[in-house]
Amino acid sequence: MNPRACETIEPALSALADRELFGAERETVVGHVAVCETCRRTLEDYRLVGAALREGIQIGSERDLSAITWPPRLAHAPSPPLTRWQRLIYDVTRWVDPWPVLAGAAALIALVVGVWLVQPAPSPVNMVEIERVDAEGPVMVIPGSGGKMTIIWLFDADDQPDVTPTPI
């Protein structure tokens, strides 16, 4: 038999064994198998293998699966669903470590508060502010020198100031 003819026919033998070959192609392959001992054996092998596979599937489908001892399932309760905030925190902390950010924010707040507490308060416009004056006699308060200096003048009880007192 021409070996080249066998190489051409051999791929069609599997289809012939599975009864998937029809028409002229089938007649060609059958004609060749009738005269070629090698291809006839190959066809017989395909038929045996196919029968064995079909029988195995049939046997497998008829097995009692309840006889199988399955591995035990892991016994842990399902996690409750995350709330909206938990999901947000999870999404943020998944990518960014929050502690350096919080530490930096705390340090910034401490710095701002510290500067605010340490800085000197602005000087009053009037550099001497009289809050209260009690005296034995009449008193006159005279602001002067652009508010930088103030005079409190005490008079004797029987003495009267010769200028109008500045209201306190």
Binding site: W99, P100, L102, A103, A106, A107, I109, A110, V113, G114, L117, V118, P120, A121, P122, S123, P124, M127, V128, E129, I130, E131, R132, V133, D134, A135, E136, V139, I142, G144, S145, K148, M149, T150, I151, I152, W153, L154, F155, D156
Partner: protein, 150 residues
């Protein structure tokens, strides 16, 4: 139990310590007061050269002579009381009792024996001066100049 990051705890301790130091430091603020005692009279026309800084204010008074009798600086703190004798048996009491609005809160009394000639409280800005005049002394009056720096 929830755990706090060590860095957060350290920052919290520093913040509390800073606030405590700042708050407690208020009463430890150094205060420098200067009291000048001046005798004003109409005897002569001299003005003590040491009174150059307040000469313009003295010029608005009705006296022709101003003599510096004493200059006494006080280095003190807020909350400390000081008493200073004045000529003629009078006494000046100084009590810096607080700091607010950028000024030193000061209570000043002048007594002459049992008589309270003056009892006043005021706020003195840094570098400002207050003059208290009028108590009779010799042939004129006493003027007390109080200035502060802090």
């Amino acid at each position: 139990m929830r755990r706090t990051a060590p860095s957060i705890r350290a920052l919290a301790v520093l913040l509390v310590a800073q606030l405590a130091v700042t708050g407690l430091g208020w009463s430890q603020t150094p205060v420098n007061l200067t009291v000048q005692v001046i005798h004003a009279s109409n005897t002569g026309t001299t003005v003590d050269p040491a009174l150059a800084k307040i000469r313009s204010q003295l010029g608005s008074m009705k006296y022709s002579s101003y003599k510096l009798l004493e200059t006494r600086p006080f280095s003190t703190t807020v909350g400390a009381k000081h008493a200073m004798p004045l000529p003629g048996g009078k006494t000046l009491d100084l009590y810096p009792y607080g700091l607010s609005g950028g000024g030193l809160e000061l209570m000043v009394t002048i007594t002459d024996g049992a008589k309270r000639l003056l009892d006043t409280t005021f706020r003195l800005a840094n570098g400002a001066t207050i003059l208290v005049g009028g108590p009779a002394y010799a042939d004129g009056v006493l003027i007390v100049a109080i200035s502060g720096s802090f």
